[in-house]
Symmetry: C2
Subunit: 178 residues, 2 copies
């Protein structure tokens, strides 16, 4: 699948998943894609845990409370470390976001759907920390996101986006789009 097709085909899938076993090699390919993303001053602040053990998935979804995502036969958990990269700044949010986007594209290219679940686990409810505890993640890593991975069991819908000319221009703000 070409880059452009994967980019356009990717959606945030929130339906249920088929009970298809995901080959371990596919999860490795998806994680390799994530780790290949750039990071501020090459600090490589992002780490990943693929979960395909059914009992562990069940325990994790007891805390996520997301029934549709819980049907996915695998998930990838995204860990981040706040490491200073440039002057006094950390770019770990940018780093893991680029890694997540790579993984979403890789998943699409392998025939899977996924969804970027971050806000639901990083807000005041601290679900990400509960997931991290289940996975034995030390306190200096934050579990900020999980990506279910599986074959869609329901129709895949595409988010409606604003027209190109409302968000992109040439040679100046709102100066022209073609």
């Amino acid at each position: 699948m070409t880059v452009f097709d994967a980019i356009q085909d990717r959606t945030s899938y929130r339906g249920s998943y088929q009970n298809t076993v995901i080959p371990r090699e596919d999860l490795i390919k998806i994680m390799e894609a994530g780790l290949a993303a750039p990071s501020g001053c090459n600090t490589q602040t992002t780490s990943l845990i693929a979960v395909n053990d059914p009992d562990l998935l069940r325990r994790l979804h007891e805390v996520t409370g997301l029934p549709a995502a819980a049907t996915a036969p695998a998930m990838i958990c995204v860990l981040t470390q706040a490491i200073v990269a440039y002057r006094d700044r950390c770019y770990n949010v940018q780093d893991y976001s680029a890694a997540i986007e790579n993984m979403l594209l890789a998943a699409v290219a392998l025939g899977y759907e996924s969804c970027w679940y971050e806000g639901q686990i990083t807000d005041a409810d601290a679900i990400g920390r509960k997931m991290a505890d289940i996975l034995g993640v030390p306190a200096d890593y934050e579990l900020v996101c999980f990506l279910p991975v599986g074959v869609a069991d329901q129709p895949v819908k595409r988010a409606k986006k604003k027209p190109f000319g409302e968000r992109a221009w040439f040679n100046g703000f709102q100066a022209g789009d073609d």
Copy 2:
């Protein structure tokens, strides 16, 4: 080019660029890839300005102070708006990072090199605001990153990364990588 090839071929290129004109259609394709990235609750917080006007590029690089990047025949400037997406949270950093990664992959697929310049323009020197002023960007948008786009004129080097097993595991923190 496949997704996986583009992901592995992408590098942060900091050399000089050939004086090749970039077709407008290629800049549009790259920006379309950026706008197709997901955003928190579909808030679409990222906007883009492609710059290929030589005089405007010269003026922008007077403030960036990056001689190698200044040889690129085009750049894409990334704008963001802090829009609340979920509860009281903004995910605009995540949004523009995913958009940037898509654009870097699209550039590679079209035969170009680029580099994610963010820290250099968003720190205390406020170079991003000076660039925004040149482009007529209003105060409620922040110019957080620019991507030079062009054909490499020097060898492309790849950043050295840690081995897979130091950053990715299955079913638990550092539990195993295969």
